[in-house]
Symmetry: C2
Subunit: 216 residues, 2 copies
């Protein structure tokens, strides 16, 4: 068991070392980097599409998926420069995979890089990948108890987006219980309700990103 | 890197050895065991509640969560004997944790044991935990592309339950595209559409479980 713990510690140390390098490169190039976290199907790609529509900045995307390039095709068709990473089974992105992907888009400067992590509300929250901020996307359809059951992702998030608010008339979503759970994990995160289907709420999301991007 | 691969292989081997022991004990006691897989918020607990309402068998539950015992409280209130496992961060249940939990319910005989795995469409599919069957729950609200993006869970499932069908009038869910994706990964799984909210479709689910339970 000692050998297992030692190997895990080495993986985290090496990851953090490379994450710091990635962050330095991005900062030098005035690229604000957002690690996009969320469970499968919460609307990570749809949210990024809506942000890109409203934004005054140039968006770039690194699209993480276990398999498939469905989302990359969607984003490239909209003119958003997107690079695909397929992990072929791995449950999260790590800093070395981002460092490697950046060699393919090394000329990016002055913009916002979204890294869509693997759809998983657990493992991705454990790994820094060089980002300046973590944006957690959750969905009304998944219920209001998520902050209580998956605390780490909520604890680490800087911006929490509650998506699919257009569906609340058909759900038993308890916003007060949700927000109480968020505040138990994290008193500093900004929480914004949106509907990626209707486009509601994205002015506030873009404002948050622009305010934070200009600080790097 | 060789040391990391070796450690991972040892973990899988040890897990499979204990999973075989768990399976043998459950089979000897005529307990049919179902590993319940699914992303956060797809309705794993709600589906089990509906199954328990309709079933002629005695249901037992081992409830896996990273933190909290919200679902265990719900199930115990309904008179369903439920044991909680909290993984405190770990992204899946493994066979040793099930072997350990079974010592708390060692007297169970002649029934169906549901093990609700951690809400995660990736990692839990990699680990056998002594089950006779894997029941994958997915939700219409998460979109029809899930089989393409998370192939392993679909490949390993014996029964695939598509939940929240009451919400399809408000969604762009493409059932044909979903089913095509399922069949790419798995031609043998049974697929059943349900609504845990309304109770629709659960006669078929209970029938599937009873037909398979009597074979052990």
């Amino acid at each position: 068991m000692t050998k297992e713990i030692e190997v895990v510690e080495n993986i985290f140390e090496e990851n953090d070392r490379i994450a710091a390098q990635v962050n330095k490169t991005l900062t030098e190039n005035k690229v604000f980097c957002i690690n996009v976290l969320g469970a499968p199907g919460v609307g990570k790609t749809s949210v990024m599409k809506r942000i890109a529509e409203k934004a005054n900045f140039t968006p770039f995307v690194i699209e993480g998926d276990i398999e498939s390039d469905i989302d990359t095709e969607t984003l490239n068709k909209l003119g958003i420069k997107t690079v695909q990473i397929n992990t072929h089974g791995a449950c999260h992105l790590d800093a070395p995979s981002i460092q490697n992907a950046l060699t393919g888009i090394s000329h990016i400067k002055n913009g916002v890089l979204f890294i869509e992590n693997i759809g998983n509300l657990v493992c991705p929250a454990e790994f820094n990948i060089g980002e300046h901020a973590k944006m957690l996307i959750v969905s009304t359809t998944d219920g209001s108890d998520k902050p209580y059951k998956y605390p780490l992702a909520f604890e680490k998030a800087n911006l929490i987006i509650l998506n699919k608010c257009d569906l609340t008339p058909y759900l038993d979503f308890d916003y007060d219980f949700f927000l109480k759970g968020v505040l138990m994990q994290n008193k500093n995160a900004t929480v914004i309700s949106v509907s990626a289907k209707d486009g509601d709420g994205f002015d506030k999301v873009v404002e948050w990103i622009e305010n934070n991007a200009c600080r790097i």
